[in-house]
Structures are given as structure tokens and as C-alpha cells.
Symmetry: C2
Subunit: 399 residues, 2 copies
Amino acid sequence: MSLETTSTLAHAAPEARDALGDYLRDCRDLVLAELERFMPADSRYRPILYDLMLDYPLRDAKALRPALCIATARSLGGSLEAVLQSAAVLELYHNAFLIHDDIEDASERRRDGPTLHRSQGVPIALNVGDAMLALALEPLFDNMRLVGLGKALRILKAVSDMARNTAEGQALELSWIRECRWNLRDQDYLRMAHQKTSHYTFIAPVVVGGLIVGASDSELFELRMFATALGAAFQIQDDVLNLVSDHGTYGKDKLGDLWEGKRTLILLHALRSATEEERARAVEILGKERPLAETPRTNVETVVRELWARSELSDAGYEAVLNALGRAESSRATKTEADVGFLLELIRHYRSLEHARSVARTRALRARHSLQRLKPRMRGVVHREFMEQLVDFVVERDH
Amino acid sequence: MSLETTSTLAHAAPEARDALGDYLRDCRDLVLAELERFMPADSRYRPILYDLMLDYPLRDAKALRPALCIATARSLGGSLEAVLQSAAVLELYHNAFLIHDDIEDASERRRDGPTLHRSQGVPIALNVGDAMLALALEPLFDNMRLVGLGKALRILKAVSDMARNTAEGQALELSWIRECRWNLRDQDYLRMAHQKTSHYTFIAPVVVGGLIVGASDSELFELRMFATALGAAFQIQDDVLNLVSDHGTYGKDKLGDLWEGKRTLILLHALRSATEEERARAVEILGKERPLAETPRTNVETVVRELWARSELSDAGYEAVLNALGRAESSRATKTEADVGFLLELIRHYRSLEHARSVARTRALRARHSLQRLKPRMRGVVHREFMEQLVDFVVERDH
């Protein structure tokens, strides 16, 4: 297969109807084939390790990161062959982070399926993530053959910086959770999101794309500005969508972030704007746990409830057991519908969603300006247009 | 500080009393200082991330891996300055693996303290391990300055191979656990131990040490043979010590591997030697879980027991709740003292400990022969002697 003559990446007409979607799909197909190529053939380890690495990438996903990396390099005149391998490495990192994040957040679902630690257990899932981080280094060495020693080393360094930045951002958010910290400014939130999400979702893809074509320092600087602004807009919009339904109104089933007590620009704005009394109640609510879905203890509750219903257990005895079960389950209370309703009302009252949308729009505008400044150097029109469409998509998307 | 003139590493007298211990302690001091140097100074991330990376290394530990790396390079004429940084990287990897292993094995204690996920929670501990894996790459890039580009790249490749091999070995053991596989030969066990433990404990240290001095292919081959044999002996001896007390008799409190149901050369030999009936019973026992220490459900049990004792709950009701609690806790039965006694008796009867010791001795002998063949090249006498003493220590140690 000649990579250069494949699909829209090489010569799509800009008037294509869903150009953004087509571009993403084409990139994704190429990246999946590349990931498959990375996997060692050793049949002893295929089913117990390497096949599991492909589980998340093969589920329905946009593969945004490699597409952005490919678009950056191609718009600046690079070849698909030179960039594809590095783009696929970014997708491998992304999916390794997802596996570990899902364990850290005790998430149950990912891309319409159970999370890997739910299907395989925490030990296997954790190890698969570690193996992906190790495997990702090999194509980066192989880059020396593709793009030469100097560029390969700079890419390796950029990827290693990215991995460390991501862990720092994650450490910051986990420390806030641990210390029950809620007095956070926009800039605290934006720094965390910058480290934790923008670095590997936007900055590393454009920097790696730029390094592959030998971009100048000033071009790399502008690419970084673009990615930083776009990353902030993306993350804020993600939080907005969690609160808002497809039709632009406050959604009912979409309040996962509030149930979870996630620090978002929106919630932090509401807390800062609230009266002292409101803030105290909100922080108390946020200190409660999200109610668990089904737990093994349901068994016990069922049996105890039946005993009580058959009068084999007194009211006081029933309550004592339930209390003990509550203590056993968690020493913290759980959030109620009314609790989440209170938080939502604060957000409504203080127009925090509007504040977040305005910050996101400002950042998207900055990203557009950066792209505008890069435009004279971006001769690959299809690829530059993808990046422009991506900025629009980030603030206008409803999913 | 001039690294070249520090302590026994540079010019210790070989007649030192506890030469092995002194050598290890000196290396450890240097490596800890080096690890401290790797940590970014950024005060925002020190307490929530980087200080936690130093938690395990600062506890009581031998720091065997960096010592072996230093000894290999120094015995072959390398300078301490050239090897120290890479040796410290190996210690960083080792401790990252320990943090993730402790999560995977749900271990409670490590080096006389709580495991990191017990003191910090799983999310923070998992992320600290990931950050260590990312941070470890930076000194490996910096190696270009210390040992030149070619050697630095070969070392980077050796470390990345090591990380992948370790994950493969871990995947193999986890797959056996998951599939309840017990029909395993010595060579299955030795392959797993080779991948999972020898690679990062022995092979990577000597290979990196050799690469730093520009060892020839045949020297690297011999170093690998040495490390492979020594690694097998070390792992088997580790399993032997778990069964045997300080005084060489079967220990009572040291049967953690049997309680846990760990696959060891010893247990696998006993299973292979046993009659079909014995084997069936042993496998059934090994399918049971280790009894948990304290669990949150003790609360519930206490309350239910009190209700029953005060006749507020019938015998049948009490049993129904206890059954439900048992189901809630685990669907599998737990091992008893008698179960573990049965396994121990099999091991005694079929002389499986003697079998394991004999395999370990054979491997140690191979390691000695490899070292003998390398001797003419090993002009750094103190360092070569450390490696010789290490072989003796591995099979003779009682801790």
C-alpha cells in the first residue's frame, strides 16, 4: 500500500460534505493498522497481553490525537509515511492513560463497553497499561530510520515530556480530591487541565507533527499556543456538555460530573460566586460520595429486609444492621437527587455555564489566531482546513 | 564531590569484613543522592508527586540492581561517573514496578511500612508509578552527554526491552492465576521468572553496565548468561526462604507463598510428583482464597451476632445473614491452617525443597562459570569480587 495515495489524507477535495469526520475516519483506519503492526507476533503473549492493548483502540472512538498530529505534519509539507508511526504512538499512549485513569476513577464503562479493569480485573488491566507505555518506545527508536537521528531524538524527548506532564496534571487533580479543595480559581483549573489533558491531546500531537517537518522554534511556539488554547476550549466544552443535553437545555442523565463531584470551571465559578452559606452547603454536598451502583452487599440487604418483613427481626434490629452495612460500605454519606439539584441551581443562578462558554470561546478565538499566523507556512490545504474545522468543532460540538 | 574518590567503590581493600554489605551500602548512598537529583525542584509538585517517588527507595532496601550495574561497568574498566546515572534509573524502574505490583497483588506491607496504595490510595499510587516511568527516560537522554550518542541509544533500547519483558512476565503469571493453571513444568516457571524478575533485576543491570564500557557482543552474551543463571537461582532461593525459617527448618510464619497460592518451583514440583488424588485436593485448596485480614464487614457481623445472642434473631435467620455476607465477601472459600499444612506435607514428602535447591545450585554454578570466563577482562578487582560474592550470597543467604 502506498501511504501517499490513500484516501483524503493525500488528496481529498475540500468540498467533501463531512470533511472533518472523513478526515478523522481515514486517519483512524491508518492508525489502527499501524498499531496492529506494532504488536509483537509472539503467540504466547498475544492473547494474554497484546490483544488486550487493542481492546480500547478498536472500540468506537475518534482518534483525534493522531489525526491532529498527521494534519500538522502534512499541512507543513511532511509526508504521511514520516508522521504515521509517531501519530500511532500518541494513540497508544492515550489508550494506556485511559486504562490507568479508569482504574484511578473506578470507572465502569468506556466507549460503550466495560472498562478493561472491569472485564479483566485490576491486575491485568494495570499491567496492560504498563506494557503499552513500554511498547510505545520502540517505534520512537525506529523513527531514526524514518526521519533521521536528530528529529527522532527530539520527538522522543517531546513524548517523554508529555508523559511526565500528564502525570503531574493527574497528581494535581488527585491532590485536590484528597484534600477536599474547592477554593480554586479559573487559572488553577486551567493549569490542571493544561497538564493533564491538553499536553497529550493537543500539545504533543502538534509538536511531534512540527518536529517531523523540522519546524522552526517560532513555528513550534505558535503550534504550542494553538494547542494550549484549543485544549482549554476542548476541556471546558467537555464539561459544558456533561451538564447540557443534546438540545441545549440542562440534561437529566448527563449530570455525571456533578454526581461525581468533578472540579470543572463551571462548578468552581458557581462556588466562587455563591454566598458563604450556599458555598458551605455545596462543599458539604460535594464531600458526599456518589451513590454506588450495584454492590455485592445488596445480597445481605435483601436477606435482612426479608427477615424484617417476616417479623423475624425487630425494627430496631433491622435498623442496626442497615446502619452497620452503611458503615461497612463507606464512612461517608452519599449524594441525593436533591443535593445535585442544589448544585445545578447554583450553576443556573450564577450563570456559571455562560461564564465557562465565554472562556471557551475566548480560547477558541486564540487558537484561530495562532492558526492564522501559521497559515502562510501551511501549504497542505486539506490538512490545514481540518485543523480549522477542528477549532469550530471543539466549541460547537454537541457530543 | 568527586565520584571517583568516594568510598569502597573506588579503592576499597578486598579484605574488608562485610565486603558485600559495604559495597551495597556505598552504592545505595550514591544512588539515593542521584535519585534525589533526578527529582524536579518545582515546589507545586514536590509534595504531591515527587516526594512520593522517593518513599520506597528511602525505606530499608539493598539496592541490588544499581550495585550490580555499577559493579559490572567498574569491573570492566568503566568510571563511576559514566555508570551512576543509568544505575539510578534502574532503581527508579524497580521501585515503579514495586508500586504497581503491590497494587496488582493487593499487598499490605512493603519494607516494614504500608504499601504506597495503602497510605495514599490506589489512584495516587498508580499515578506515582506512571510518573516514575516517564521521569526515568530523562537521565537516559542525558546519557548522551556522559557516554556519547551511540552508547546512550543502546542503553535506552536495553531499558525499554527490559520494561516490556517485565510486563510480559507479569502477564504470563497473571494469566496462570486467572486460568487457575497448575500443570506447569520447571521450564514454564523459569521462563516466567526470567521475564518477570531476572530481566530487570539482573539482565538489564549487567547489560547496561556492559554497554557503558563498550563491551563486545561476546562479552555482552556472557554477561547475559551470567545474569540469567543468577536470576533463576535468586528467584528460587527467594521461594525457598519463604518456606524455611532462619534456622533452616520449615518456618511457621513464613508460609506466605502457600497461603497466597503463589506458583513456585517448589510447589509445582510437589504437584507434579503427587498422586492424582493428592493433586486434585491440592488444586482445590489452591483455588481457595487467602483469608482476608480485617474487612469492613466485621461491623455487620458483630451487630448480627449480638442480635442473635440476644435472641432477637433466630438461628436460621442468623445463618441466612452470615451466608449472604459470605457471598458478599467472596464467592470462593478461604484456605485453612489444615489446607496449608496439607500443601506443606506434600512438599516435604516429595522432597520438593531439595529439588528446588538443587536447581538453584546448578544455576549458581553456571553463573560462576560465566564470571570465570569474563575474569580476564575484569580488571576492576573489588568490583569483580563483589559479583563473585553476590553469587555466593544468592544461594547461601538466609534473608
